[in-house]
Amino acid sequence: MEVAFYLSALIAVAATVLAITRYHAVHALLFLIVSLLALAVVFFIMGAHFAAALEVIIYAGAIMVLFIFAIMMLNLGKATIEWERQLLRPRVWVLPALLTLVLAAELIYLLAIRGGPESSGIELVRPARVGAELFGFYILGVEMAAFLLMAGLVGAYHIGRREKKVIHRYLKKEEV
């Protein structure tokens, strides 16, 4: 258990260092995903299984997909094709794949040992307790998070909207 914790912590730090020093945004994203997966293993070891699942689904899944969409929209044209070809070379994906394999082995080991984390004395915080707390004591916070997400949605739509070039043929917008 100790070994697993230190190994995943090391992978998280190494992947983060590699992520902030890459030149290509997609390489950085690959390493950042590895770092997030390593942190999910750390959460699992700490007995926060629900947070570990959320880390994988929302952080490494949804938010990183958002980043990839944005990068896709920014890279148009012929240069992208050459770049995609370069992306399929092993040099690019071998290191993230290796780090992820180590994490997968660690997770399988953790699931295979009898009883999981609670056998080592760490108390589990189960999703039922988190949910009861979230929709009981913290209900006001949930409502505020809903407001925030709504504001984020409307704000992103408003900012990302394309400006109309001509409103009316007599009302031309001034050139900037």
């Binding site: 730090v13 902030i20 950085a28 070891i45 707390e133």
Partner: protein, 102 residues
Amino acid sequence: MTPDYMEQGMLLAIVLFCLGFVGLMIRRNVIFMLLSIEIMLNAAGLAFIVSGARWANADGQVMFIFILAMTAAEVSVGLALALKIFQKYKTLDSDAINRMKG
């Protein structure tokens, strides 16, 4: 004897937060700056989880979920802004947007 990851976990959170901060300082690409902010917010979430695990309390995970929702909203607006900057200036360099009225 119960193993206690309080100090190690907090140390990991501090290291990750500092790495995110360094990334924010050294990079001038808007996408990389957003990624660094992600790393910093994630380190903050890790600190909450660690302290929640220390006292076997659900509050840490609740705070992590709030941080998650906040991050999602922040990323969507930030990426929309990055797309807009790229449309207007044809670059993602944050030094190119040093004027209030473009």
